[in-house]
Each structure stands twice: as C-alpha cells, then as structure tokens.
C-alpha cells in the first residue's frame, strides 16, 4: 500500500480519564480507557474494532474524531496529526455516524435545510454534488428532502446521516455502532450501503461495534479490545476462524447461533453458559 493511501494512523494511543470519586474509585484515581492502541486504516478499507461495554472502543473513536482526550501517542488523519484545536477544514476530514440516527439530526430541520446549512458552513467542500445526487448515492428518493426527521424511518434517518457525512468528502468515515438500533432487515440495507460506498467512493471506514457477526460481514481486518487494550487483531476471517486469544474465543462462543449444541438436550439446544464460566459473574 502506498503512503498516500494511508488515511488513519493511530500510534500507541492512550486515553486516561479521571475517576469521579464514586463507584468504589477515589477522587483523583485515573482509569486508562485506551491503553497503548495502534491501528491503521487505508483508503477503501473497512477496519473493525469490537469489544464489550467499557472496553474503550468509544474513547478510541472520540480521540480519532478529534472530540476526545488524547493522553499519549498520536492520531494522524491523512498526514495531519489530531490534537488540540483543528481548523474547520481539518475537522471535516473525519465524519462520524452514530448509533441513534434520529439523535444526530436536528428535529426542527428538514433534510434539505440541514444540507443547506452544511453547504453554507463548508462551501469549499460541498460544491461537488447536488442534494438529489447525494441522496441517490445513499439510496434515498429526492422527495425525502422536504421531510422532518420524525417523518422518516430509522433506516432512512441513518442514510440521511451517512449522506450528510459524505457531503463533506471525508477521508475517514467513523461508524460507531451504526446499525445497533436498527431492525435486522434495515441493518442489512445499511451494511450493504457501507460496503457499496467503500467501493464507489474509495472510502476508509473505521467500524466500531459490539456485534461480532456484523463486523464479520463488513470488515477487512478486525481489532478485539478488552479493558483498553487490543488483545488480538488480524484479517477478519482469520481472527474468526482461528482466534488466538482466550477472550476472542469466549466472545465468539457467546454469539447466538454459534454455541455448540448440547448432546444431552432432546431438543438439540446449545449448551448453556453458566455464570461461573464468564468474568464478572459475582459482585
């Protein structure tokens, strides 16, 4: 891969949060939410980060988006280091889509007005397409332009959020649980859209999810996070077929439809996971 195709370079990133003096932590204690994470995303790649609640994947995302704390290491987007204040043009280089699509749209603004606002703020980046062409790119009909967010479905709202991100021609699309709030049939539509955009727009996508099956469906490479560290990474198929780390194996074994079937059960249901076999089962 040539150097120009390297879009995101996260090198030994550490994010430390201050504990608030509750929940068993003393005030002044620190928690390393991200602890020495390195990863790269090239143009046309979809790179996955999976982990459970508290693994640090969102702290990582926020640092990459230039919205969070960076305590150590570097985050470089298209050769520009993310830290401190970025210029307006630099900030557009990473666009974010989040779990709740309705939450990322202004409830009082039609889709058209929202796009007009983006065009007014970033005239130098947004002249490349019309609203109609942009919506067509994400599989939406132009008659949606005059709707308010509450008049569109969750899947349509997520497409609008993706369209708004694309309008700014980002180098990197950061997708943080982009389908977790959607029905499975709608999720499939959004996943197919992201796969299509990666190809048609040569987009680099950092895809963050707790859902291993979704990551398997779209990501080229995957990083498994546990307590702030990447415990395993590699090509998605390889990690899923031959997980090296015990935690990855346990995560994969917990996917519904993946657990081994119980030979003692006449209905042929899977063996059940008991409390003793999972971490954190007791207070």
């Amino acid at each position: 891969m040539t150097r120009e195709r390297r879009i995101l370079d996260v090198d030994d990133l550490t994010v430390v949060h201050q504990a608030g003096g509750r929940w068993g932590n003393r005030r002044g204690d620190t928690v390393a939410a991200v602890d020495g994470v390195s990863l790269t995303v090239d143009a046309g790649e979809i790179i996955g980060v999976v982990g459970e609640s508290g693994s640090g994947k969102t702290s990582l995302a926020m640092a990459v988006a230039g919205l969070g704390r960076i305590s150590g290491g570097t985050v470089t987007v298209s050769g520009v280091q993310v830290s401190g204040r970025l210029s307006r043009a630099e900030r557009t280089r990473v666009q974010v889509i989040l779990q709740d699509p309705h939450g990322s749209l202004d409830p009082r603004q039609t889709v058209r007005r929202g796009l007009r606002e983006l065009r007014r703020i970033h005239p130098e980046r947004t002249g490349w397409t019309t609203d109609e062409e942009l919506l067509a790119k994400v599989g939406l009909n132009a008659d949606l332009l005059d709707r308010l967010p509450h008049q569109v479905s969750g899947g349509q709202a997520q497409r609008v959020a993706i369209a708004r991100a694309l309008l700014l021609r980002p180098a990197l699309l950061l997708a943080d649980e982009p389908t977790s709030a959607l029905d499975v049939s709608v999720q499939a539509q959004i996943l197919r859209l992201l796969l299509g955009l990666r190809r048609s727009e040569d987009l680099a996508i950092l895809f963050i999810s707790h859902d291993l099956a979704v990551v398997r469906a779209v990501c080229d490479r995957v990083h498994v996070m546990l307590r702030g560290r990447v415990v395993e990474h590699g090509p998605t198929a390889e990690v899923f077929e031959r997980p090296a780390h015990e935690y990855t194996r346990r995560l994969l074994a917990a996917i519904p439809g993946r657990r081994p079937l119980d030979p003692a059960d006449p209905a042929g249901r899977p063996v059940q996971v008991t409390t003793a076999s999972v971490p954190g089962g007791e207070p």
Partner: protein, 338 residues
C-alpha cells in the same frame, strides 16, 4: 395438559388521528407448562403489543377488539374484559429490556423483593417469604446471597441487574414468564449468561412443573437457541409457527427466509437486505401483508385472506406456497444456513 397461556384470534386495534390501526390481527398462540415460545418480529410487528395485552398494559388508545387471552384457563382479556390485574405478578411474571427501569434506585434488592413477595404472597409468613427470597437469589446464580440482597441497583453490573429483574418476576413462582427483549441491551457474554439462567427456570421449579415462557425478541438466532417453538410476526400477524430448530434450518414463509438471510453470520457470507418497509395495516388490507416485498408474490397473494398451510415438521405458515413445491419453496435453502 391444558396450556398455561392461550391467545385465540386476538385482535388489537389502536385509535389514532389517522384512523384505526390493526396492531395484532387474529393471533393464535398457546403455551404449555415448561415450554419456551419465541415471539419474533421487527419493530412495529405487533409482538410487544401482543404480550402487553396479556399483562393488561396496553396504552389508553389501544384495545382488544376481538378474540381472547386466557391464563390457566381463566379469561383475562377480551372485548370488554380486562382482568389481567388478577394474574399479573402472581401467575404471570414479566421482564423487560431495561432492567434498571424495573428496579427502584433508592431501595436495596432485599426491600424490592420483599415488597413483591408481600403483595403477591400475603399468606406466607415473613420468614417463609425471606426464605423464598434467598432461594430465588441463589437460583439466579449468585453465591454471595446476602451481599447481593443488601446492594442497591447502582452497585451491580448490567447483567447482575437483569438477573435481579428476573428474580423479581419469578419470586412468586408464576406459571407464565413473559420476557420482552430482556437480553438485547446486554453484552454478548452477559447475554449468554442470562439466557442460560432463563433456560434453567423453565426446566424445573419447586412446584415440579416448569414455568412456561414467552421470549419476545428481534433476534432470531437467539430465539433459536433458547426456544422450543418460534412464532414469527409480521405487520400484526403471525406468519409462521414451528419447532425452533425446524423454523431456523428450514423456514417456509418467504418473510422468515428473508429475515434469516438478512442476519449477518458469524461464519461470514453475504448479507441480503429485504427491499422496502413493513406496511402500517388498516382494517381493509387485502391479502398477504408481505406480498408487496415478497419476491415470489403472485396475483392470488393480493386477493384475499391467506389460509394457514400445515408444514411437514408440524408447524404452519400463512403462505399459499409454503407447503408445496410452489414459488415460496423455491428460495435457495442456503439462506437458512446456521
């Protein structure tokens, strides 16, 4: 053995500014003691409305317009009948998605369990109720019973809180447990743990016969793991019912097939989307509700009410082509790969 829960022709309508909407249409379901029945559907399919009617928790503008619900043979819901309050909590337990919202943040686990036990088991002595409470916490897989009982909800993890919510629902030893997306907000390893716990509850109780459970979820693969039978809902109607294994490995209704094909697989493979969106159903919907999105739909599908077709494995599907070698059966079976 007679069913512990029975829904017959249950039709539920909502009166809205836009007219009357049919949320559930002629739902027939029965649940036996010790059985786990999965109720699967996407947002707006009517699965939550259906189970909320069993609990008597319908919104003010929503009512049963036809059919009936019986718990242990007793009529609790029908047009003009609302007696769910007589069985709710005592004979029908419930667990919802957000455990935290079922728990009072200002009360210890012990006080919350005592309140439920006092309300629904008034004939037991205080000592008997406390023994019941300690027993149920132990059954939830906790070993440090007193420590858990003296905890406030915020001192427990999400998975532990959901186990407490289950304890609150089953401390009265109900014959029917209704869970609505009760593991959907949990991490995958925690989900596996809670699912294992639920399975152990239906297997046996201190009464000898197991509890019947209705497991409402949007996750078909999860339902395939825990349920004996699965009913698939689409736009207010049940479209396919069958043994869980059978339904997932050999789905016969085109919607069930499409739903399975849309689920990303742990072992990779293409994710196939279903074009379009589910309809909002008003009273005079003609024919099959899935027809507008169905790749196999023909003239007959839009004509009138679609009859149930019995399936080889003992299930049934609401499709003209489900039983034979017709167009419905021609969808590649690879979509059913586990």
């Amino acid at each position: 053995m007679s069913p512990v829960l029975e829904l017959r022709g249950l039709t539920i309508e909502a009166a809205t500014a836009g007219g009357r909407h049919v949320l559930a249409d002629g739902v027939d379901l029965s649940l036996a003691a010790g059985e786990t029945l999965g109720l699967i559907g996407e947002s707006g399919s009517g699965k939550t409305t259906t189970v909320r009617s069993v609990l008597g928790l319908l919104d003010r503008n929503v009512a049963v317009s036809a059919g009936e619900v019986r718990v242990l043979g007793e009529l609790i819901q029908a047009p003009g009948v609302q007696a769910a309050g007589r069985v709710r909590g005592r004979h029908v337990g419930m667990v919802f998605q957000g455990a935290s919202s079922s728990l009072d943040p200002l009360m210890t686990v012990r006080r919350q369990l005592r309140e439920v036990a006092r309300t629904h088991l008034p004939r037991l002595s205080r000592a008997e109720r406390d023994a019941r409470i300690a027993g149920v916490i132990a059954r939830m897989g906790f070993t440090e019973v007193d420590r858990v009982l003296d905890s406030f909800p915020h001192q427990l993890s999400g998975g532990m809180r959901q186990r407490i919510a289950i304890a609150l629902a089953v401390v009265t030893e109900p014959e029917v447990l209704i869970t609505d997306e009760c593991t959907s907000a949990l991490d995958v390893t925690t989900q596996a743990e809670v699912v294992g716990l639920l399975a152990s509850l239906t297997a046996a109780s201190s009464r000898g016969t197991g509890m019947g459970m209705v497991f409402v979820t949007h996750d078909l693969m999860l339902a395939g793991e825990i349920c004996d039978r699965i009913a698939v809902m689409y736009a207010g109607q049940i479209v396919e019912v069958g043994a869980a294994r059978e339904l997932i490995t050999a789905p016969r209704h085109p919607y069930t097939r499409a739903l399975l094909a849309a689920i990303p697989r742990w072992d990779g493979g293409e994710v196939r989307a279903i074009d379009g969106t589910a309809p909002r159903v008003t009273e005079d919907w003609p024919g099959c509700r899935f027809a507008p999105r169905c790749p196999r739909a023909e003239q007959i599908c839009r004509a009138g009410e679609v009859p149930w077709a019995p399936l080889p494995g003992g299930g049934r599907a609401r499709c003209h082509f489900a039983a034979g070698d017709g167009p419905g059966a021609a969808v590649p079976a690879s979509s059913a790969r586990r």
